[in-house]
Symmetry: C2
């Protein structure tokens, strides 16, 4: 196994079975999964397994032959997207989706510049790594990439006398465009997460996004909404994160949750962009959109509708967040509670006055939670934000259990 593999937890988990929001290890111990977003409709959902098995035993070819499933799936996706976002290209991973989206943007605009969020993670291809400041070791003086700080109201990036407004953060995009220009580069696109995970679970606001969209477009760039994390009802109000702000991107990328574990990702764009791109490039993805992937994607969307996942995320997410806010009232350790839907962050600080990140304590709590049967992780630039991002079938009783165990774990590590 490659030396870049890393396991979670000091004693890695040896899992043997998954069902709904539960994972079971080789000793029969049951864990509440508050971490995994890939099994969106729950671990091993029987309808998804059935669609996978049935199609795999019938036919599995590729998009160079006709097949009903891929057309039906594309139509289902287009029907759940606003504006002109209706043309789908199917790939296997979020990395491939973001890579292709950037390639489309470069091809269509004729520009090469990329504006990304500081600390963002958009994937692991060589190019997408370069667009991912979170992968700091890969980048070596790329003149076409520029970073902007995302809105982080808990820790302002501005001097004390400057107001912490969404417009002020949007103004950083002007600086980024200017920075590219000074290197002789124009922006092909800005890639924007529906929620900034790696930066510590920050949600961009409507005013911010509206202004940023305008600025990038005025400079000749497209907007790519990276919905690999925030898509498929994760944030509770809409299917896709950007919809919360009333904006419509030029290209949307979808990944992790779409196949509930099966490698399935999608790039959706407008007919105009798709047709411009096709004039300049050809693209074929061997596995992308094969009959099995398409059938799995359809099954996931059907489960999302039938089980009214969006309403569940909204309901459970609000209850969960209220519970976390109540814990913040009780525990000094909790500096901030944020996020939306079932993507919640709890920022831990050594004290609330200077907000010193409590990284070691956060790591301890993750281990304590695991010992008490609840799986979470940390995120953020200081690794001090507890991340709660469970399967979307997470219910009120699961939230209550996670809250109870978090309360106990904070006590157990000797914190107030």
């Amino acid at each position: 196994m490659g030396h870049t593999y890393r396991h979670f937890f000091e004693r890695p988990l040896f899992l043997v079975r998954g069902e709904g929001v539960w994972l079971y290890d080789d000793q029969g111990t049951r864990y509440l999964d508050c971490y995994n977003n890939v099994p969106s409709v729950g671990h091993c959902h029987p309808d998804v397994v059935e669609a996978l098995s049935t199609q795999a035993s019938t036919l599995n070819t590729h998009t160079r032959y006709l097949h009903d499933a891929i057309i039906e799936y594309a139509e289902m996706l287009a029907g759940r997207l606003p504006g002109e976002l209706s043309v789908c290209t199917f790939v296997c991973t979020g990395t491939e989706a973001n890579d292709l989206a950037y390639r489309m943007a470069r091809s269509v605009t004729g520009n090469t510049g990329a504006i990304v969020t500081s600390g963002a993670y958009h994937g692991n291809s060589t190019l997408v790594s370069e667009l991912s400041p979170d992968n700091d070791t890969v980048r070596t003086g790329l003149d076409f990439v520029v970073e902007v700080e995302p809105p982080y109201t808990y820790r302002s990036v501005f001097p004390d006398d400057q107001p912490e407004t969404e417009s002020a953060y949007a103004g950083l995009v002007d600086d980024a465009i200017e920075q590219l220009r000074s290197r002789g580069v124009l922006p092909a696109m800005m890639m924007i997460d529906g929620i900034y995970d790696a930066k510590g679970i920050l949600t961009p606001g409507a005013t911010y996004l509206q202004q940023v969209y305008e600025k990038v477009r005025a400079a000749g760039g497209l907007i790519i909404a990276d919905e690999v994390q925030s898509g498929l009802c994760r944030l509770g109000d809409h299917y896709w994160g950007f919809e919360d702000s009333g904006v419509v991107p030029d290209i949307v990328t979808m990944g992790k949750p779409m196949g509930a574990g099966h490698p399935l990702a999608i790039v959706v764009t407008t007919p105009q962009i798709a047709s411009e791109f096709a004039k300049k490039a050809h693209y074929f993805n061997t596995f992308g959109g094969n009959p099995v992937s398409a059938s799995v994607g359809k099954a996931v969307l059907e489960v999302v509708e039938r089980e009214d996942i969006l309403a569940n995320v909204k309901r459970t997410g609000e209850h969960f967040k209220k519970g976390l806010e109540a814990l913040a009232d009780k525990h000094e350790l909790i500096g901030d509670v944020r996020g939306k839907g079932l993507f919640l962050g709890v920022e831990l600080v050594e004290n609330r006055s200077d907000k010193k990140p409590a990284k070691a304590i956060a790591a301890n709590i993750v281990e304590k939670m695991r010992e008490s049967g609840v799986l979470i992780s940390t995120t953020g630039q200081f690794d001090n934000v507890l991340k709660f991002r469970p399967p979307l079938v997470f219910a009120r009783e699961h939230a209550d259990l996670a809250l109870e165990r978090l309360d106990q774990s904070i006590d157990a590590v000797g914190q107030r």
Copy 2:
């Protein structure tokens, strides 16, 4: 659906079922599959479907938890590779594999240069597209990529007075290295296919590869063997194409056939390279090597062993090639028959003296073959090479049927 999608055939095939070497359309018509390499052990092999279904209904997480299947699969792969090639990193597609392999080479050598074969196709990511001269529309004056002509004995690239030797072709790599140097770039790697598909199904010889490996390494570069097409017994003598030449690359990439339709690809390298890379980069692939993919990969290797696929490819491939050579004796249209194992090419020419590529006739024959129930395609820089690359369970009787229909199709398009 994206505008870059292209269907095979004038009237696209509407397939509904696959089994072994057979595909069935919505009218119940049966087609002999002489084209698809992805369903390596045959369409919908019951053992592979069983492994997929069982694991998908039990657990599907990722490599940050422990799981037996991934370790067992990595050990099986390492046991089937020569030398120090023993460290596996799991990804989802051949593109991801080649992209990661280049990133490893760049990271470990400290160089950026890439030597690739003229006309090669290594994938579809932005970067890998740039390494793929077959994707000509993407490339825009990249100073770190240089192309070399592969050995093509039927159409020499050398002047008439220069001998057409493997060493002469290997010498082109010296020129390539010099070309990079003149731009201030040193080679990170040369990426070499086990068989050159897009160029017209050319097989690099042992002397050629041995000399090329030496030259690239002497210049500080690594050798990446792209076994996405030629791997898993495709060429009939060994598991991997490079083994036919007694060479051992630094990095091997595997893709298409490994999961028999499931998105599974692998990068294998030496402990030394893996450890150097891990010092400089981190890498995680959400779906790569998950328990389902690993179980499918294992099942495919088990079928390959149990059904003695290697011997079948050797036996059927030799019989098939002899049959094609017999047709070449009969039909003037056939200029050259080449390839190995179950990867065979038939180059069509308007006449044998000036070897003018018979592109339109080749396209007609592909359509005629389809009408007669046999699926093939064309390849090569002039699109005049008929490609025979069936599932590896292709038997003598299937070869005989394909030969009979080819004979008839040549007659049917009015050719001698």
